[in-house]
């Protein structure tokens, strides 16, 4: 809502605050002033100039050299407008002016004549709507003298407040509403326009005399049907959608532009000035907040207005030129033959007033807010009228709106009313009474309030207060205050009046209950460990394009937006890898040698038979279960399948994170928390001491994330075969046999499709699986007192035998005093027979009670090697 400061002062002459202070006061009352615009911006060096003499330009036929009086002297101005004439007054921009259209002006030579300024056109002054002939704006009629400022002549010595009106205060969607709020704050009487108050218009048009006082609108009666002298029949069939319909006929109007000041003010407030009759309805909307509409009476069949529900299949071309399909959920204004307007939303183009209209039907009505919200939503249109009706218009103000519109049409377009105002429906707005306990007001606000203080605060705002039983107050709510429905609403009203700055800042009471362990803190600690390991933290968007990942990417299990803005970013990520890839590409393309990103976030899948992606058929849970037991999965989904994940919090002992923090099971979707990393290119090292060569990331960097996140908890890695991952470099991560994530390289085809230009290694773990099993307090012992003995042994083993299995074989062999074994080298090459590989192990022996002898260690080792040899694993 754009509001004119000057208009507010016209409505509330007692307002003496500056525009800035007014804005501050409004904001503190809850009417947020988002922006203050000075209407005369760009007019700082634009003065009134009077042309004293016009000579032809010596070297250009179409230019003229003018002597222009600027109040201080006479300057030479070259002008190209053919209409420029001596004695006329024009806006004169001086050198140094920054005009509203963006042009900065300097003195310059034009074909050999120095021009010290410019006579301006309306578009140059940012006022393209002002009619002008011949390329300059003539202001002669304004009666100003040379050197006067131009802005006031054009009504631009004003400030415009851009208000952010909250949805519960439709009464602030008008100048009167805002002025009423200010009046309660600063005092003074509000001058709501009544038919007599047309002072500033009288001066300009002298048309007030035309006002037919005898024809002033009669108060509406409760008819369902009205006609009479006006010669128009009005029938309201849809009284639910339109409880009150009023109209008035004005004939003999002269269509044309409104007075300059009217057009200027509308323009400043963001409303395009059109014909005077239309301007009048827009003016009433801005002034009173009451939507009105003008029909060309000649185009109304009958003439008869029927307010009814839309008929299926019926259409209407609205003023914006679009064809609207109507239906019974929409209240329609019609004549006996067809719909002529969408009630409370927008008029139809066929009955629009035009320059040739001579009789108009002015309409002011009250439409049901829910009906208007429905209509606006179904038709996907929002107008100034529907916006106000949807929030609630003061129905008792409807007659005033009609009177005011009538008055303005008569003033600006002439004509005369025909018959009295017509009215169908009822004004019944049962006065609402809300009970308010002063003690409750004090308890909720912390303000020191008693009945007297509460009563006077409410009286200030125009509410009538009566005593009620039990020390309470009965507060009568005026019809424009849709927001006052409950006791708390009145408490806010009191607090607003007293001032939020007087609410005492009160310390929260201390809490003695210890805070629980939090999942968020555990996740932050995990993030800290990943950063410590050199991974950069990413926050990527949730939405992505599955195309590069190929058809085997979560087939049938992708969720997508029902109403996407961007078609290529409408799917919800089923894995963080899907969106981390974008962060990798962004940086690799900008010259990063490599990336090592991690992210903690939510991931989403369709569940239980929802064919969200419109791809493959429904995915049944039973079907899933059947396949997840299978090692050779072929369904292409995530290795961390829902059904095999632990029930949430089931395995959580005393260290369960914050209460109520578990994700709920919602029908059709599966949402999980996850932690993932993606490495691509050469993200590590590469400083001067290493010769500047960074190390390329590989599978083991990704796998290391699992070990880092799980901190040595026993996990197994089982090769998997998802089609979007490298066929030879992917594994499911299992903890106690349960899948909790995956580690892999992306399929090179996918890497190419993602434009990564580098191998990308990825890992993802279920965050809750990582965090819920955090270790409890553990018992420890002093370091061993006796020395350790190490033995390195290289073993030749079949290449396909998993290293982890051999490691486990050695670890669990019955070797006394073996305390640690690890792999320190893997070799396949010329010296190793085909089909075999060499794995080098370091075994550590130690006893807590004595020093081991070399002989007993060697003896134990020989025994192990002999056993291994029988399994086809020999010492190299």
């Amino acid at each position: 809502m754009r509001v004119s400061y000057r208009w507010l002062r016209e409505l509330l002459p007692a307002l003496e605050l500056s525009p800035g202070d007014t804005a501050e006061r409004l904001t503190r009352l809850g009417v947020l002033v988002d922006e203050i615009e000075r209407a005369d911006r760009g007019f700082e060096r634009v003065l009134v100039g009077r042309v004293e003499r016009v000579d032809p330009h010596p070297r250009a036929d179409r230019l003229k050299v003018c002597a222009v009086a600027d109040g201080a002297g006479v300057r030479t101005v070259v002008c190209g407008a053919p209409v420029v004439k001596p004695g006329a007054i024009y806006p004169l921009a001086l050198p140094g002016a920054q005009l509203p259209n963006g042009v900065s002006l300097e003195a310059s030579e034009i074909r050999g004549v120095r021009s010290e300024g410019m006579l301006c056109s309306a578009p140059e002054l940012g006022l393209p709507h002002l009619g002008e002939a011949g390329g300059i704006l003539e202001l002669t009629a304004a009666g100003a003298g040379p050197g006067d400022a131009v802005a006031p002549i054009l009504g631009l010595d004003d400030a415009v407040f851009v208000l952010d009106v909250p949805a519960n205060r439709p009464d602030w969607e008008s100048h009167v509403g805002v002025a009423r709020e200010l009046a309660a704050a600063v005092g003074g009487d509000l001058r709501i326009p009544e038919p007599e108050t047309l002072a500033w218009l009288d001066e300009r048009e002298g048309s007030a005399a035309r006002l037919s006082r005898g024809g002033a609108a009669s108060e509406p009666a409760g008819d369902r049907d009205a006609a009479g002298e006006a010669g128009v029949r009005i029938v309201v069939e849809d009284a639910d959608g339109c409880p009150l319909y009023t109209a008035r006929v004005i004939e003999g109007v002269r269509m044309g532009p409104s007075p300059l000041a009217v057009r200027q003010r509308l323009w400043m407030l963001g409303v395009r000035p059109l014909l005077n009759v239309v301007d009048a309805t827009n003016w009433v909307l801005l002034e009173l907040g009451t939507p009105t509409h003008a029909f060309d009476l000649a185009r109304i069949a009958g003439p008869e207005i029927r307010v009814r529900r839309g008929v299926p299949g019926e259409t209407l071309v609205t003023l914006d030129g679009r064809t609207r399909r109507l239906d019974p959920a929409i209240t329609v204004i019609a004549d006996p033959e067809r719909a002529v307007a969408v009630g409370g939303v927008m008029g139809g183009v066929e009955t629009e007033v035009s320059e040739t209209s001579s009789a108009v039907l002015l309409e002011a009505a009250f439409f049901d807010p829910a009906r208007i919200r429905g209509a606006a939503a179904r038709l996907e249109m929002r107008t100034e009228a529907s916006h106000r009706f949807a929030r609630g218009v003061d129905r008792t103000a409807v007659p005033r709106g009609l009177r005011r519109a009538t008055e303005l049409v008569l003033a600006w377009a002439g004509g005369r009313t025909r018959g009295p105002a017509l009215s169908v429906g009822t004004l019944d707005a049962p006065p609402a009474t809300v009970r308010l306990r002063p003690a409750r007001a004090a308890a909720l606000t912390g303000l020191d309030l008693d009945a007297a203080a509460v009563g006077s605060a409410l009286a200030e705002t125009g509410l009538e207060v009566d005593p009620a039983p039990g020390g309470a107050l009965a507060v009568r709510v005026p019809p424009h205050r849709y927001d006052l429905a409950r006791e708390e609403d009145l408490i806010e009203e009191v607090a607003r009046r007293v001032g939020y700055d007087r609410v005492p800042s009160t310390r929260l009471p201390a809490r003695d209950e210890p805070l629980p362990r939090e999942r968020a803190a555990a996740a932050a600690a995990l993030a800290g460990r990943l950063r410590g390991a050199g991974f950069d933290e990413a926050y990527t968007t949730t939405f992505f394009d599955p195309e590069p990942f190929g058809p085997g990417f979560f087939p049938g299990r992708l969720l997508e937006q029902a109403n996407p803005l961007a078609q290529d970013a409408r799917h919800l990520r089923p894995t963080l890898v899907a969106t981390l890839a974008g962060a990798a590409r962004h940086n690799l393309r900008r010259g990063a040698a490599g990336v090592a990103f991690f992210e903690i976030g939510h991931v989403f899948e369709a569940a239980s038979g929802v064919d969200a992606g419109g791809r493959a058929g429904p995915v049944g849970r039973a079907d899933d279960r059947g396949r997840t037991g299978d090692r050779g999965r072929t369904d292409g989904g995530s290795p961390t399948r829902g059904d095999t994940l632990p029930p949430r919090d089931a395995a959580a002992p005393a260290d369960t994170p914050a209460r109520g923090d578990a994700l709920p099971a919602l029908p059709g979707v599966r949402e999980r928390r996850a932690v993932a990393a993606l490495l691509a290119g050469s993200p590590f090292g590469g400083d001067w001491s290493e010769g500047g060569k960074p190390r390329p990331a590989d599978f083991w960097d990704a796998k290391g994330v699992v070990e880092l996140a799980l901190r040595g908890r026993p996990v197994a890695f089982r090769p998997s075969d998802l089609p979007w991952l490298h066929p030879g470099q992917q594994a499911t991560v299992l903890e106690h046999g349960r899948p909790i994530g995956f580690v892999a390289r992306l399929h090179p085809r996918v890497e190419r499709a993602l434009d990564l230009d580098a191998a990308a290694f990825v890992v993802e773990l279920d965050l809750d699986a990582v965090l819920t099993a955090a270790p409890a307090a553990r018992r420890v012992s002093a370091p061993p007192a006796f020395p350790r003995v190490e033995r390195d042994v290289a073993l030749l083993a079949p290449a396909e035998r998993p290293a982890a299995e051999l490691l486990e074989r050695i670890r669990t062999a019955d070797l006394a005093a073996l305390v640690d074994v690890r792999i320190f080298d893997v070799y396949r090459g010329a010296q190793v027979p085909g089909g075999m590989r060499s794995l080098a192990f370091r075994l550590v022996f130690q006893r807590p009670d004595r020093t081991l002898t070399e002989a007993e260690v060697d003896g134990a080792l020989e025994g192990l090697l002999a056993d291994l040899a029988r399994e086809g694993v020999t010492r190299r």
Partner: protein, 350 residues
């Protein structure tokens, strides 16, 4: 003194002089060791001369012997001194050769960058934990009931139309438009008292620009206890704003409207860019809106089965990126989701 004794003594003294002279030209610790063996070793020249003591008369032996020991001691001391000097010189030379260019960069194990959203969230969590708030999350896919209806935003309410909700195809669900549904889920799950901080990702169907992103983070704060007033809300907001923006930040607490609170309030901070004088960022007002808040609406308490006559509380919510943008002067919200390392690196150590 016999002639023999005198000769022996003279020879010993000559050896000392000779030894010292040779020592002077010793260039390395090895040279010095060689001289020690030559003079003082078991077969060294001094040792051998001293073996001649036995040939002297018994009454002459002490005097000559004493002289001999003096020579020995003197030579030994000279040898040690020379050796020490040479050793030191050698070491100095070696150290000089080991000189490093101390201006070359050190080798630091590379620490990963913390994302500005995490920086803000970690800080907010710690600010509120000190005030006794526990942190909890919630689902990003929500029901319309939790996201709207239970928050006093019934169907047809303007706030519902204006929220630019993203719906999930094939379901009745939506992507939450704010973190407020966590209020509902928390209150549904347990009775008061509650002091909750709920950070999380939210969604709006906004076309991306400098200040809009379809994905953004909010924090939600909820307190439900007995006797909570608008004054407690004010204190909490002030404490939060001062902890986050600095002690001297100027604040404006004013009425505002949100369907799930009543009375409602908004908090503005004096524009961090112009200090309140008015600039493009604050659109000339000198103030920047940072959050919406208010006393929990009784309709919300009724929805979760709390007795509004017994319990009162406040709630507020604010955008995390917005807080970070104000604090760090970040020029656009898109930067948060691009993850450009050159942008993130500016927060190193933060």
């Amino acid at each position: 003194m016999s002639r023999a004794a005198g000769d022996l003594r003279d020879r010993l003294q000559a050896l000392e002089a000779e030894g010292r002279a040779e020592l002077a030209s010793a260039a390395t610790p090895d040279d010095v060791e060689e001289l020690r063996v030559r003079y003082l070793g078991r077969k060294g020249r001094v040792t051998r001369e001293l073996q001649g003591l036995g040939a002297l008369a018994p009454d002459e032996r002490p005097a000559v012997g004493e002289a001999g020991n003096r020579v020995k001691a003197a030579l030994a001391e000279a040898l040690d001194a020379r050796r020490a000097a040479l050793q030191e010189a050698l070491e100095s030379a070696a150290l000089a050769a080991d000189r490093v260019d101390v201006t070359l960069p050190g080798r630091v194990p590379r620490e990963g960058l913390r994302h500005p959203i995490s920086i803000a969230l970690d800080e907010l969590r710690s600010i509120f934990r000190e005030m006794g708030f526990e942190t909890a999350g919630g689902p990003e896919i929500e029901t319309a009931y939790h996201n709207f209806s239970a928050l006093n935003i019934p169907e047809g309410h303007p706030a519902r139309e204006e929220s630019d909700t993203i719906f999930v195809r094939g379901t009745d669900l939506l992507l939450r438009t704010h973190t407020s549904p966590v209020q509902i889920r928390t209150m549904e799950s347990r009775p008061p008292p509650i002091r909750l901080l709920a950070p999380g990702r939210c969604y709006r169907n906004d076309a991306p620009d400098a200040t809009h992103s379809p994905v953004f983070y909010q924090i939600e704060v909820l307190v439900v206890e007995e006797g909570i007033t608008l004054g407690h809300l004010k204190w909490t907001l002030e404490r939060f704003a001062r902890a986050y923006f600095g002690r001297d930040v100027r604040l404006r607490f004013r009425p505002g409207y949100f369907p799930f609170v009543e009375p409602g309030a908004e908090l503005d901070v004096a524009c961090v860019f112009c200090g309140g004088a008015g600039c493009a960022t604050c659109k000339g007002s000198g103030w920047i809106e940072v959050l919406g808040s208010g006393m929990v609406h009784p309709a919300v308490f009724e929805a979760v089965g709390y007795d509004p006559e017994r319990w009162s509380g406040f709630a507020f919510g604010t955008g995390v990126e917005r807080l970070a943008m104000l604090k760090h002067g970040i020029p656009g919200i898109r930067l948060f989701y691009e993850n450009d390392l050159r942008f993130l690196a500016q927060f190193a150590g933060g």
